[in-house]
């Protein structure tokens, strides 16, 4: 009797689970709630897939940061032009899983696949020859083999790189100009984009210290890579420790790691966070500004080029201050004295190359040649 009951229960559960999954596919096929899909009057896709696809990095499409920025650009283009769109989340952060997700997108009929993130360099290197009819937009990286032996961007791949060092530079400069002297940088993984943000931040602080005529060591920076892009209590504790020991503002440059830093800032008095990738002002009242890359815009432009018959395959676009690809968010900024006019001056100066900003990501901090800013590197 009990066995039968158990069997029925198991069956009922599995049926409801399958029904549940079905729902995910319908509602989530476009990655958005149902109303959006009906608004755009998109023709129903033949399979379960879509013409435009995005394969997420380690984060999710609502990480309020990197993946979300890219996803919003794709979504914007798709809804404006009646294209079907969908995202795929790899089961884990390995090359095999990324390739599998790309394969799924191709099977679903994707014509253009957007892959945000440095970690896609190897998967896209393989995918671009495996699926020659599919176009790839790779953000933050250029395809190469696993051992970095061969770099090759096929005609069906477009790489987009950002001058993160410029955005980081502006953030560091603005922070010191705004009166902060004890800064912090908490990055996610030490991937090139994060490193460039960090090094730019240091150089910006240095430049501002020089202009203000500050003494050597008056500006100090705590510097750390947390090792991943997740929120965790350990990071909240670390950030709280920094704030406790005097750090006034932390540049949180690691996806959801930022939420841990914001939690720490909220629990302290007059402590601030600089957000990253997209304008994160709505995340917390402690976000003073954000170092942004125009992820959405660049995805949008790439798609526009593809559909306009101007596919720029095989090339690498570098987006920097010259083409409004990077900057810091000022619309909702909470700077105390750093004004929009100050920002305009700074932006112009960076654009004109008044500052020499080292864009290397494979050097040590000591090679940046900082004289006034004292950097304390925190291991682990």
């Amino acid at each position: 009797m009990k066995r039968t009951l158990a069997l029925i229960l198991v069956l009922a559960l599995s049926v409801s689970l399958i029904a549940g999954c079905g729902k995910v596919n319908n509602g989530g096929a476009s990655g958005t709630p149902a109303p959006q899909a009906s608004d755009s009057a998109t023709p129903a896709p033949s399979g379960s897939g879509a013409e435009l696809a995005l394969v997420t990095d380690l984060g999710t499409i609502d990480d309020k940061s990197f993946n979300q920025g890219s996803w919003e650009g794709l979504k914007k283009y798709a809804t404006e032009n009646n294209k079907t769109y969908q995202y795929y989340q790899p089961s884990e952060g390995t090359n095999a899983a990324y390739l599998e997700a790309i394969g799924l997108a191709v099977k679903g009929g994707a014509k253009v696949i957007v892959t945000p993130g440095f970690l896609f360099e190897v998967p896209v290197y393989e995918a671009q020859t495996k699926y020659p009819d599919v176009k790839f937009v790779l953000l933050d990286g250029e395809p190469h083999t696993e051992d970095y032996g061969t770099y090759k961007t096929e005609a069906n791949t477009l790489c987009i790189l950002y001058a993160e060092q410029e955005a980081g530079f502006m953030a560091g400069y603005a922070a010191v100009k705004d009166g902060f002297r004890k800064l912090g940088f908490m990055g996610g993984m030490a991937v090139p984009a994060v490193v460039r943000f960090g090094y730019g931040f240091l150089q910006g602080a240095e430049a501002a210290a020089k202009e203000l005529g500050l003494a050597e060591g008056e500006v100090s920076v705590m510097y750390n890579y947390t090792g991943d892009f997740n929120a965790a209590p350990e990071k909240q504790a670390k950030a709280a420790g920094w704030y406790e020991s005097g750090t006034e503002v932390i540049f949180a440059c690691g996806g959801a790691t930022g939420n841990s830093v914001m939690a720490a800032a909220e629990a302290s008095k007059d402590k601030w966070v600089i957000g990253v990738d997209v304008d994160q002002y709505s995340e917390s009242n402690t976000v003073i500004s954000s170092a942004v890359k125009q992820l959405g815009n660049s995805v949008y432009q790439a798609l526009e080029a593809y559909y306009g018959g101007k596919w720029d395959g095989g090339k690498t676009w570098v987006l920097d201050s010259k083409n409004d690809g990077v900057g810091i968010a000022m619309d909702n900024a909470r700077w105390r004295t750093f004004s929009a006019a100050d920002y305009a001056t700074l932006y112009k100066a960076v654009q004109d190359g008044k500052y020499t900003i080292n864009s290397a990501s494979d050097i040590e901090i000591k090679d940046l040649g900082l004289k006034l800013v004292k950097v304390t590197e925190v291991a682990d």
């Binding site: 009990k2 158990a6 549940g20 729902k23 995910v24 509602g27 989530g28 958005t32 709630p33 999710t60 609502d62 309020k64 705590m222 750390n224 997740n230 929120a231 965790a232 209590p233 350990e234 990071k235 909240q236 504790a237 670390k238 709280a240 420790g241 920094w242 406790e244 020991s245 959801a256 939420n259 841990s260 914001m262 939690a263 909220e266 629990a267 995340e283 917390s284 304390t376 925190v378 291991a379 682990d380």
Partner: protein, 319 residues
């Protein structure tokens, strides 16, 4: 001195959720049901209560909202744990498998539901933290002690201490506690004198569910600005705390304190000059709690205090 106050305040943020969840696990295991579903229960408790806060924070705020959320967290954790209770008590399922199933189910369910019910369709549930108490009136002014325990804190900290004391009394000074322990040690004997093993085990699991759910809420409130379907493995860590504490309330509290302190040190040693001077890697502090657990297990395995019948389904017919 302020560094020490800071360390203690921060340690509390780690310790209290660990302790509350481990105490929950203690009730379940003392009744004879191994509950490795604590992680999943924390997740569900956190999910329901944070969603509640998210919905209500326009009309309510501060301590009243937090207290209501606490009740929701406990209720939802208890309900979720019923699945485990039913499978492992009525159906006599393998308790490890049932617990694992709940652990796998919880994060997916939380993400799925968050995306379904939130108009924005995102998986994170944001909340405004209006619950922090900068300074408890009167008590916060006491020198030293006030700085340590009554500033920059949450009511959940005191609730945790209260739960510890009540747990110890219930377990060792009441009829219910005696029966609970009997069911965990020798359910057949308990049954022979008229104790309903099923009922007792159900209550044990439900208590663990309520405390687990509460632990999930405390954990998220104190360390993040949104709920993102994760409690960072603290449910499993609580199991280690439970074993390290040898299933005894005050020892569990001590173990949680030890784990919490080590976690704090490993995260913040970079800002403490005298610890930096020791020149030890942060990984070292991270390892200590686990090494200590292993050592305790090695030395106590001969006379382990684990409830003898924990993990074995009770079969009345086999008496």
């Amino acid at each position: 001195m302020s560094t020490i106050y800071f360390l203690i305040q921060q340690t509390m943020f780690f310790t209290i959720p660990l302790m509350v969840v481990a105490l929950g696990g203690m009730f379940s295991e003392r009744s004879g049901v191994v509950n490795i579903a604590l992680e999943g229960i924390m997740l569900m408790g956190g999910f329901c209560s944070i969603f509640f806060i998210n919905q209500m924070q326009d009309t309510l705020s501060g301590q009243l909202l937090l207290i209501l959320a606490i009740l929701i967290a406990m209720a939802s954790g208890a309900v979720f744990s019923l699945l485990h209770a039913y499978a492992s008590i009525n159906m006599k399922a393998d308790q490890t498998i049932s617990g694992t199933a709940l652990n796998l189910l919880a994060p997916s369910l939380a993400i799925f539901m968050a995306r379904m019910i939130q108009p924005s369709g995102v998986q994170q549930i944001a909340f405004n933290n209006t619950f922090r108490i900068a300074k408890v009136p009167v008590l916060g002014d006491i020198p030293v002690i006030g700085n340590m325990f009554f500033q920059n804190t949450y009511i959940t900290t005191y609730l945790g201490v209260l739960i510890l004391i009540v747990s110890a009394i219930v377990l060792f000074k009441t009829k219910f506690g005696l029966r609970l322990r009997a069911c965990g040690e020798h359910p057949q004997a308990a049954d022979s004198v008229g104790v309903s093993v099923y009922k007792i085990r159900y209550s044990g699991v439900i208590i663990s569910g309520a405390l687990g759910g509460l632990g999930g809420l405390i954990f998220i409130i104190t360390t993040s600005t949104n709920y993102n379907a994760s409690v960072a493995g603290y449910g499993f860590l609580a199991l280690a705390v439970l074993i390290f504490g040898q299933w005894k309330p005050y020892k569990v509290a001590g173990a949680a304190l030890f784990f919490g302190f080590m976690k704090t040190i490993s995260a913040t040693y970079s800002t403490i000059p005298w610890l930096q001077g020791l020149n030890l890697s942060g990984y070292f502090y991270k390892m200590i709690p686990y090494i200590a657990t292993l050592i305790v297990l090695v030395f106590s395995s001969k006379k382990s205090q684990a409830p003898r019948a924990a993990g074995t389904p009770y079969d009345q017919g086999a008496r």
